[in-house]
């Protein structure tokens, strides 16, 4: 077992891990941050995306020991300081960008990473960036819309009535 320390969502965190412990397991099992989900075992689905030192990382594909000393942000750390939904989170709710919610943490984290590097992405760029995030419920349509809206671009309102 190795003792590791890192900063998670702005707070110091530590724990004893095996060499084989994945960052996703450390977050879920040790730190009880169960917002990070695991939906596959081949690093395809993206439900486990977190930010490590500002970069989007699939937490199922990184060893916990590799993240020692890093700044880690999970979906639990994405809301505004007063607890209200951040711009991206609010856009997902406003545009019905989630259904069962299981892929949602990864989608939110990927969206945040995309908008950091590309603040006004085109629709094609959003779709291309989401290559590593699988959603089975929404057909992606409203996820793409939510991300475009969160970037400040005009999109059609929800549900033409």
């Amino acid at each position: 077992m190795t003792k590791i320390e890192m900063t998670v969502n702005g707070r110091a965190a530590s724990g004893d891990v095996e060499g084989r412990t994945l960052l996703s397991s450390f977050l879920r099992d040790e730190l009880k941050l169960t917002g990070t989900h695991v939906g596959c075992d081949t690093s395809q689905c993206g439900a486990c995306v977190v930010h490590v030192d500002g970069e989007a990382v699939k937490a199922c594909t990184m060893l916990a020991v590799e993240a020692a000393g890093s700044e880690v942000t999970t979906v639990e750390g994405m809301a505004n300081a007063d607890g209200s939904l951040s711009v991206i989170q609010q856009a997902f709710q406003d545009h019905h960008g989630l259904q069962c919610g299981f892929c949602t943490p990864g989608m939110v984290m990927s969206a945040a990473a995309l908008l950091k590097e590309n603040p006004k992405p085109s629709e094609a760029e959003v779709r291309d960036y989401l290559e590593g995030n699988i959603c089975r419920c929404t057909g992606y349509h409203n996820i793409v819309k939510a991300i475009m809206a969160a970037s400040g671009q005009d999109v059609a309102p929800v549900a033409a009535e």
């Binding site: 095996e18 081949t42 639990e76 779709r127 089975r136 992606y140």
Partner: protein, 790 residues
């Protein structure tokens, strides 16, 4: 004007806040103090005789609590099947034993042979590697027609053959149907495959069994669409636990799409092992395990024939389908290719004679059961493909051929045992042609051709049957369960309501839309209504969520219970207002006396119910809580028309979806935003089936697609761009037999879209001079290219 609350409003989903902040409560998030973990050792051989399972070394490994094999389950029942189909000779289907852990033989790759319970998952997995299993491998049978043609390889030695049943529907119509084909002016024939799919909800299945020795109570936390059904099946038929000693909880569930309806071995195992080990036992499926243990979907091989008279009227439809059951009967498997498939073969058309033959077949593959649409996509695909082929053979417009055969008068009794209550198929056709801009297609095709691409326009109509019912009828058809739904409405003293429903939400947003309905009925704010679901200890007996039944059946139960609440509240109000009950009106959350300015607020009435000082105690009980069970008198029949435009790259065979439009008739709509989201999701799954997804086995029964590296899930860039994608639900013919006039929307997209896409691809290929009459799904670049080049 968009409504800002109640029925018809696009209320934002309240459940989103917890999902967006990582504070949902999915089954894998549940950890019980002292819990152990189980790892299942699964067969990597498709068919063989187990000669020994040596667990000795594993039992001595660090952290191991107990190792289980099939022998440990001899005293309990096997996995039950919930539907008995009767074959065309009047005989019951063949129903094999389905053990919790393999006993004697293994019959598919992924079948659990042994289970190791240990302190940690890693210890359980390590110990499983020390189990020595000897299996005498037998030849496997994977191909359905081969499985029926010969008994050389039998999946179940104690059955007479690999044929589960040979079903004819309607058997009495067979001779007349055959005669209609003899007399036909034109017959179109099509042989096709409806590809095997894996539902793939993003949350893998999880089961946590817990046991309280002091009270002898078992609890199962599970990723289920219908916790009460699991409680009944597992308690009564598998483990022998009475329902009052068994609680089943399905908390936040990350998608289902059918595959989380069924009762699985892992659920029974964890419940059993928790008692045997006297500590909680947890199992979390990996994605690879999910591919070889979640029930698969579709997998039909069909020949369909359509007979037409000299005026192009449909005179008869005749089909022969081989439906894969896999190695064992999953919970509702036998009903899918029969009562959810044969009954839909009329489609939207007034074909007078229909005969459907279905041969359900055992093979050495994972069990096959309901997947989004369940039987109805298979029916729609073959019918709409053969109609499209007929239009091409006859040289007529596929739209006009459909229109001239549309059912136009309702109610309409089909020759396949169902009666459509309402519909307007011309309206949805008109709408989809408008929103898809069919008139502009020729110009768009010319643009594509200028780029060296082939462009095709596909049209498709569909009908589905949702809210399967009524219970006494489906009982005659072989269902071993009722198909009602329940709701309890509990009004608190201060006026807030808690609605406990037997429906289960795993992405559908019931916590929002169900609250809209109840709030609308009383005229109060939606936030005064809380929806509780997914826990057998909190909700009345319910049948759960599948077959687009939640709002049509569960919603109706909720309406009935709320009506009882309102009736009692009016009695209380009439007492408080000293007026006749018949003069009391409820509007905007207040009771008033008709024609006067006397009124009393909702909260005053609810308070009186619980503080009954000024209260008609001699007439009614205190309190305000009512339960209703709703058993529908008929299915609901959502219908629609879809169009798709594809571009085919003739150099590579790659197909892209350029435009897509759907016009659905769901009857009345409670939350348009949620409804459109359901359609988007269904269409994505349908496009996935048409272009990308395929679950494939080799001839030895090895599963070739057991991860997302091999099984192609639709990604964001496989779907049409926003500007070229319209989903419409403005054509509404309300259901006539449920109180909300709703029909259900969960499966429509997955039913309507696959033939739309394939019809468009055929149109594109034929426009390029390629004589391609059909292409099987998924229409991968390799398949399309091969079809173009003969």
């Amino acid at each position: 004007m968009p409504k800002d609350g109640g029925i018809g409003a696009s209320s934002k989903r309240r459940e989103d806040v917890r999902f967006l902040t990582g504070t949902g409560n999915y089954t894998d998030d549940i950890n019980i103090h002292g819990q152990a973990h189980v790892f299942f050792l699964r067969s990597d051989i498709a068919h063989g005789t187990i000669t020994s399972v040596d667990t000795g070394a594993a039992e001595g490994m660090p952290g191991v609590v107990k190792v289980f094999t099939g022998a440990d389950f001899e005293a309990v029942g096997g996995m039950p099947c919930g539907w008995q189909v009767t074959d065309k000779h009047g005989q019951p289907m063949q129903e094999p034993k389905h053990p919790i852990l393999a006993h004697g033989k293994v019959r598919h790759v992924g079948e659990p042979i042994a289970a190791v319970v240990a302190d940690t998952l890693e210890q359980a997995r390590d110990a499983a590697e020390a189990i020595v299993v000897d299996i005498d491998e037998l030849p496997a049978v994977v191909d359905m027609k081969a499985a029926v043609a010969s008994d050389d390889v039998k999946v179940h030695d104690d059955l007479t053959s690999n044929l589960c049943y040979d079903w004819g529907f309607v058997e009495e119509n067979k001779d007349a149907t055959d005669a209609a084909f003899e007399a036909a002016a034109h017959v179109t024939t099509l042989e096709l495959v409806n590809n095997r799919l894996v539902a793939n909800p993003m949350e893998p299945r999880v089961a946590v069994g817990d046991y309280a020795r002091g009270t002898d109570e078992s609890t199962l936390y599970t990723t289920s669409q219908n916790p009460h059904v699991i409680r009944l099946l597992m308690g009564a038929f598998v483990l022998g636990i009475p329902e009052h000693k068994l609680r089943v909880v399905a908390p936040d569930v990350g998608g289902g799409f059918g595959t989380k309806i069924f009762h699985y071995q892992e659920e029974a195992f964890c419940t059993f092992a928790a008692k045997a080990c006297n500590r909680a036992v947890k199992w979390t499926s990996s994605r690879s395990e999910a591919f070889m243990s979640d029930a698969h979907g579709r997998d039909h091989v069909t020949k369909i024939e359509l007979a037409l008279d000299g005026d192009n009227n449909f005179t008869a439809v005749r089909t022969e389908t081989y439906a894969n059951m896999g190695a064992y009967l999953s919970t509702f498997a036998p009903s899918i290719p029969t009562w959810l498939h044969g009954t839909l073969m009329a489609g939207n058309y007034k074909t007078p004679l229909i005969y459907v033959n279905v041969k359900a077949v055992f093979t050495n593959t994972v069990p096959v059961d309901a997947y989004r649409g369940a039987g109805r996509p298979e029916a729609t695909f073959q019918l709409e493909r053969v109609i499209d082929k007929a239009a091409r053979e006859l040289g007529v417009d596929p739209v006009e051929l459909r229109r001239q055969n549309f059912i136009t008068e309702f109610p309409y009794a089909t020759p396949v045992a169902v009666e459509y209550d309402t519909g307007d198929y011309h309206a949805t056709m008109d709408k989809v042609l408008e929103i898809s801009d069919r008139d502009g297609f020729a110009a768009r095709r010319a643009e594509s051709e200028a780029k060296g691409k082939l462009r095709g326009f596909g049209i498709n109509c569909f009908i589905e049957a949702c809210g399967i019912a009524p219970s006494n009828l489906v009982g005659q058809l072989g269902a071993r369960a009722g198909l009602y739904e329940s709701a309890t409405v509990r009004v608190n003293a201060t006026g807030g309501l808690v609605v406990m429903t037997g429906s289960h939400s795993h992405g559908q947003g019931h916590e929002t839309s169900f609250a809209q309905v109840v709030a609308d009925m009383i005229g109060i704010d939606e936030n005064m209504v809380e929806i509780v679901h997914g826990d057998t200890s909190k909700t009345p007996m319910g049948m759960g969520t599948y077959g687009s039944r939640s709002i049509a059946v569960g919603g109706s139960a909720m309406v009935r219970a709320t009506e009882k609440i309102i009736a009692k509240a009016k009695k209380i109000a009439s007492h408080l207002l000293e007026a006749s009950e018949s003069d009391i009106e409820l509007k905007d959350g207040a009771f008033s006396v008709a024609g006067t300015d006397k009124s009393v607020a909702w909260g005053d009435v609810t308070l009186a119910a619980y503080v009954p000082h000024n209260y008609p105690l001699e007439d009614i009980e205190p309190g305000l809580e009512e339960t209703a069970f709703y058993d529908p008198s008929n299915f609901t029949y959502p219908a629609g028309a879809y169009t798709c435009e594809v571009e085919v790259d003739p150099a590579t065979g790659e197909v892209t979806i350029e435009r897509f439009a759907s016009a659905d008739d769901f009857g009345n709509v409670v939350n348009p935003m949620i409804v459109e989201g359901q359609v988007h999701g269904g269409i994505a799954q349908g496009i996935g089936q048409a272009l990308l997804e395929n679950c494939s086995y080799d001839e030895n029964g090895q599963l070739l697609t057991a991860s997302y590296m091999d099984y192609t899930m639709p990604r964001a860039d496989n779907l049409p761009q926003m500007d070229h994608y319209v989903v419409d639900h403005s054509c509404q013919t309300p259901c006539t037999h449920n109180p909300l006039g709703v029909k259900g929307c969960g499966e429509a997209g997955a039913i309507g879209s696959p033939p739309t896409v394939i019809n468009a691809i055929i149109d594109a290929l034929q426009s390029g001079g390629h004589d391609v009459a059909h292409i099987d799904m998924p229409a991968t670049p390799a398949r399309v290219w091969a079809a173009m080049h003969g």
